[in-house]
Point group: C2
Chain length 193, copies 2
């Protein structure tokens, strides 16, 4: 049975996770963000079985593991985590209607569920403001951190889906949260559900 899923893809600092949570709350359905999905993947045994089969789990930059830790079959721990998270997302969608933030859920679920795919983005300035507010100052400037994060996110997405991240045509609705405001985005999404 198909459930109704909202997938939220977002630029770092655009409030995508907040929008996902608030929309889910309004609709009375759960919201799974990337932290939660990683946790489930690790604890659920999906990841454990993969990890056991393939040796030690080495944490570290995904770039490092994606391109240098690959074993003889071209497989990496990042791939294991991807596979585990993918299975988690598929089983969540099978189980209930929900909001899923990030983790290429839009790609994973596109033929599997009745999905509303959303892309949240915002102006560099507003994003910079937001990440300093939410995560504090760091050594690098906020703008540098944002550009870096965008690159990683786009590369991750393209690597695992072969699609370009952030192209308007790949989402049912894309919203500039900085211009429209978080509340308006939440409202539009809940109306569309």
């Amino acid at each position: 049975m198909k459930h109704r899923i909202i997938t939220i893809s977002r630029e770092f600092g655009s409030g995508g996770r907040t929008i996902g949570r608030e929309a889910a709350a309004k609709l009375g359905i759960p919201c799974y963000d990337h932290e939660l999905i990683e946790k489930i993947a690790e604890e659920s045994g999906f990841a454990k079985e993969y990890i056991k089969e393939r040796g030690e789990y080495t944490p570290g930059g995904w770039l490092a593991s994606a391109f240098s830790d690959r074993d003889f079959n071209g497989h990496s721990n990042q791939d294991d985590l991807w596979a585990a998270q993918r299975r988690v997302i598929l089983s969540l969608a099978e189980k209930e209607s929900c909001v899923i933030v990030g983790r290429c859920a839009d790609y994973i679920l596109k033929d599997q569920a009745d999905c509303l795919t959303v892309f949240i983005h915002s102006d560099m300035e507003k994003r910079a403001e937001r990440i300093v507010q939410q995560y504090g100052e760091r050594a690098d400037s906020p703008v540098k951190r944002l550009k870096d994060k965008d690159k990683r996110r786009a590369a991750y997405y393209q690597f695992y889906t072969d699609m370009k991240w952030g192209i308007a045509q790949n989402y049912h609705i894309a919203l500039n949260s900085g211009k429209l405001g978080i509340d308006t985005c939440v409202e539009l999404i809940t109306r569309l559900y």
Copy 2:
């Protein structure tokens, strides 16, 4: 004085013009699409003065005029028309609140007016259906016509604005009209106004 403008960029066959017209009607403001803007540009004297200064106006494929008819200063008739249309769009925005469809209006007006920039797109299948319905069969298949039109539109946009057409981050809101339906798109846009 700044007026409130809605600019609609759209894929051919996604119903962008229809959405623009219906939204404008609901909001009680005029809608200027590309046909109307070209007409105004030609009749207004903007184009006439440019055209007189630079000799005969040679109709033909824009690609031909853009890349081979350029005169000694690198100027073409396509450029003249672009300049004239740009001035028309700026003066329309100065005069009244309105909806403007196409013609890179989002780019032209971005710092000039209080703009809501919208991008309308849809799945290839739905678009193919729509253009056959609206414009009838042609020698080429609908999908071929659509891909061709997309390429021209993207190239025109990029040539005159140096920006990529269809990138989600360049619009306040992007909507898949095939998935959401024309009426829903109209409703969302009018709500946001």
